[in-house]
Subunit: 340 residues, 2 copies
DNA sequence: CTGAAAGCGCTTACAG
DNA sequence: CTGAAAGCGCTTACAG
């Protein structure tokens, strides 16, 4: 490809002048500008982003570290939101192949070596060392679903506490008192917040929290199945269960039906996320809606603001959550033996 | 961050020597090597990938152009396969924000300006101008699901013809003679191939091809619904329908049930892809299995081979497809009026 | 308004 | 085995 030197020679000016017209400096005469423009046209010249980045320190690239499979519908939708916000912004997206378990690996070095202008992080445990590193660094960063703040670090998440709280209230309103919770892997902010929402929900309904009604899973379908299995093995299984994700909820329902029970006839189930599948699954899922696409898009908008304006103070954003009621929840079944 | 100069000064050698130990040149004495190593350690030095790329012409970055939403489960799984193959390869992945509809936009320039070592392309129409540009360029390229070949251009796909062919044969074996096909947007290789499989399948079963039994959709759930609606409006609706994607198949089933019919009681439906949801949907989907993860991973493996070895001849790969029989297909219903 | 020169952080012949 | 020098393709003071 043609370089800036070729253009300069073609136009009969210096490379400095070419650089100035490329970068829209005002102090270039119209005549010169025209000559340069047509030379650029003629040679189909495009500035080399790499070389430019080396001297300006800007790469027009934002990195993304997502430590969860892309096949997870939440991740897919998040990425789609990120992609949308990036379109026409001039920035491209780089997915970092981070070696998180390798002690000698430094995420910061990785970013700096790539000259990244900023990064968005999702799915890294709250106490992983790279979080501290990121806070100390001056790389503009947005965390999704992890409550980290810093000089150049903001975060965005849904109102997880209230989300689960609404789910519990909904079930209470249907007469349920034995409400279990299938949590996400603890150690992540979201998981903790939702668990908190569960406990507060119970408390506000004057229901005693019972350890046996708490199971943990990895947000997946299989995880939901396994957790549900344990709950069904209980002496007195719950009549309703709130799940930390729609995938887990679908897994739980699958398990319930495998035992010969029905949803919501015997057990009511609530999901979390409101992914596309929640609508299509049978029974369709009552679930907590998160505006995932929006979370992705806004994380990028704020990241770009931070990149382009050093004074921009990193935001801490909580998107509202809402309850979507469908077919997987219903009135509690009046049990034959009124044991409780 | 420390630069190679800092390391050279710290170690008391020249930058050339530091460069040599970084790049594992043999002609460095053990003593010098050690001095340099500890200086690197001390200063936590990491070579700047950008600067290195400027001189070597390598960026250790492969680009991906995916013109279909990430929320499409096929795309998500493809990306996951790509990601897996990239792990520990030293390469990072860049998603290009391509302005495909902008006449003045050049994908090649974009790649060259970013110094990309290679690209994988998915979801671009067969006759889009960038395909020709790519073939003429010397950027190593792998197309997924598009039958393009070139000097530095290979492709990978599933055996689409045979996939649909198997679906048709399966339905024929169940007694179906009125078999419709919901195709993907024509103009893409996959869509054409699968349509070909449909027609061949019919021919091999001595069933006449009828235009009215062909509908086109965009692979989505909604697309499947709309296409199915048209088929149901027909004078004599089909007793079975093969769909170009699982999402479309689920949409079709949704529509069939909305009309008060049952699957497979009244209409049998076959999908394509075998995404996760196909197993979980009710009724679970009979579908053509594609090893999507594998397609993603292999596209990268071959791309890297092409990058690292200019002699490596671009592969043209066809992964086998197989039919997975589940609950959405069944014996044809013997109709009251034996009109046909 | 224009251009010569230094420099971003590296690598690569080449000379010694 | 080691290092001085040129160069990758740009931008940015600075002098004129």
């Amino acid at each position: 490809m043609a370089s800036i030197h070729d253009v300069a020679k073609e136009a009969g000016v210096s490379v400095a002048t070419v650089s100035k017209v490329i970068n829209h400096y005002p102090d270039v005469s119209d005549k010169t500008r025209k000559k340069v423009r047509s030379a650029i046209e003629l040679l189909r010249y495009r500035p080399n982003a790499i070389a430019r980045g080396l001297v300006t320190g800007r790469s027009w690239t934002v990195g993304v570290l997502i430590n969860i499979p892309f096949t997870n519908p939440y991740v897919a939708e998040l990425l789609e939101g990120i992609k949308t916000a990036l379109e026409n912004s001039g920035y491209d997206l780089m997915r970092l192949s981070a070696r998180l378990n390798d002690e000698s690996y430094s995420f910061i070095d990785h970013c700096e070596s790539r000259n990244l202008d900023g990064v968005v992080i999702f799915g890294v445990e709250r106490d992983h060392r790279i979080i501290g590193e990121l806070i100390r660094s001056d790389i503009p960063t947005m965390f999704v679903d992890t409550d980290v703040m810093g000089n150049r670090v903001g975060n965005i998440t849904s109102d997880n506490v209230n989300g689960v709280h609404m789910a519990v209230s909904h079930l209470y309103g249907l007469g349920h008192r034995d409400i279990a919770y299938i949590a996400g892997t603890l150690g992540h902010t979201v998981a903790e917040r939702r668990l908190q929402g569960y406990k507060q929900g119970l408390a506000d309904c004057s229901i005693e929290y019972r350890d046996k009604y708490l199971e943990v899973c990895d947000y997946s379908f299989e995880g939901g199945m396994v957790a549900m299995r344990k709950l069904l093995h209980l002496q007195s299984p719950p009549t309703a269960v709130v799940c930390t994700s729609d995938m887990a909820a679908m897994g739980a329902i699958h398990e319930i039906e495998a035992w010969g029970f029905s949803v919501p006839g015997d057990v009511s189930v609530v999901g979390f996320d409101n992914i596309f599948e929640a609508k299509v699954f049978k029974p369709s899922l009552t679930t907590v809606n998160q505006n995932i696409h929006n979370i992705g898009a806004r994380s990028i908008e704020h990241l770009i603001s931070m990149i382009e304006n050093p004074e921009y103070s990193p935001p801490e954003i909580m998107e509202p959550a809402s309850l979507v009621i469908r077919q997987s929840t219903g009135k509690v079944k009046v049990s034959e033996d009124q044991s409780r």
